[in-house]
Symmetry: C2
């Protein structure tokens, strides 16, 4: 097995670049840490480029499906390579998926307008997967879904749900042409609980500070509001997204 | 105005200890950063012990209610003192509230069983405030609500909702004596949407990995489950908590 002992090795340097958006875009690759995410990426048929194993760790049998030769690294190199404080013994480099076109004809969609916090975006993707959303469309200005913190917060859900970057005005208009009702989220919207669950829908959630872009809110079919009590100012966007998705879904 | 220029000043050293649970418990004080949390603490009538201002910042007029003399510190000292990477110019030291006894006779309560992640606990407290929960009871083993990361994630909601540490078995039994129905959360529970909204209720949420303690789940009136689709394994606990609280609440 190939073995890397120096944190200055060219491969290590190249992999560390995958912690930045620019590095991912230039190489077409992304980096994942820990056995759980590796297993989820395998289940999601994500193409593997490298499988990195800390010395002393044994490769789980089920990972035979990974068609790349594992590379062994020292504990020191693994620590240098990983963003988590206590690396879990395994990491991998995978190919970024090709751009896809989610058919916005019928189904249940989530549109994301410039969410900034990686934890929030990851949690939202995890929730969208759990509620069985057909696909996620995100606007320019949203944190990169292949950011390591986002991937960790998705707990692997990122590998199981179609996700596409697209202008949201265009996406809203496409859905409306197909009679898919589009619900924005706004403090000036209608109380969400008055809306019946829907077979087809789009939910639009927005930036932590600014919410959904004003011009986009004017193009939606209806905007929804979650009542706040006790002088509370707002809900965390990933919590609000969960409440609305589970309300809109027919359960 | 008193001015501190050295990060080695005894007050700075003492305040930095408030970043640890032990430091807070020994002193009976806690530390908050940024103008928003200071305003929320003022609104919540939290007693202030120190108000710390970075040189060059002007104290907002509305803060006249703070009855302590502000202390000026240099930018370097402020950075040393604060946990956030870009301190916002103001910080404060406040008194930990006295232990309270939330009357568990009627109302809408949230019980928290060993949540570990500060962001999750803070987000849950924020949601509980927004949904108008009467009080929060948390078990031994839950991350300290006065941890700075928790406070930041609550966005100040911590100062507006009664919160008490207590044995949850005892709390469940008290509620049941008062005919307040207790709902646990469990993968083996009933689908939550089959439950009608309630005037009085307790919701119990649990540890990120292990959920609610098994013996506690046996003492509840009913346990609730949020359906998961698309082979998803679980929801983030703060999202699940939001979905259930807003469902149980009469809106």
């Amino acid at each position: 097995m190939e073995r890397i002992e120096s944190p200055k090795n060219a491969k290590i340097k190249a992999w560390k670049k995958l912690h930045t958006k620019r590095g991912r875009e230039k190489s077409g690759l992304f980096f994942i840490e820990g056995p759980h995410l590796i297993e989820e990426a395998l289940k999601g048929n994500i193409p593997f480029v490298e499988l990195i194993v800390r010395e002393g760790e044994e490769l789980p049998r089920e990972w035979k499906a990974v068609e790349v030769k594992p590379i062994e690294v020292t504990a020191k190199v693994m620590k240098e390579l990983c963003e988590t404080e206590t690396p879990q013994g395994f990491a991998a480099v995978c190919e970024l998926p090709d751009n896809i076109n989610i058919p916005l004809e019928s189904g249940q969609f989530l549109f994301i307008d410039r969410i900034q916090d990686p934890g929030n975006l990851g949690t939202i993707i995890r929730t969208a997967h759990a509620v069985g959303i057909t696909g996620i469309v995100f606007a320019e200005g949203t944190v990169d879904p292949y950011n390591s913190k986002v991937i960790r917060a998705t707990q692997g859900s990122l590998f199981h749900i179609p996700i596409q970057k697209m202008d949201l005005h265009e996406a809203v208009s496409l859905c409306q042409e197909n009679q898919v009702p589009v619900f924005g989220t706004s403090f000036e919207g209608s109380t969400y609980s008055a809306i019946e669950p829907q077979n087809d829908f789009v939910l639009v959630v927005g930036n932590e500070g600014q919410g959904v872009e004003e011009t986009l809110l004017q193009e939606t079919d209806q905007n929804l509001y979650i009542p706040l009590y006790g002088d509370a100012e707002s809900l965390n966007v990933s919590v609000a997204c969960g409440i609305l998705l589970y309300h809109l879904k027919l359960i």
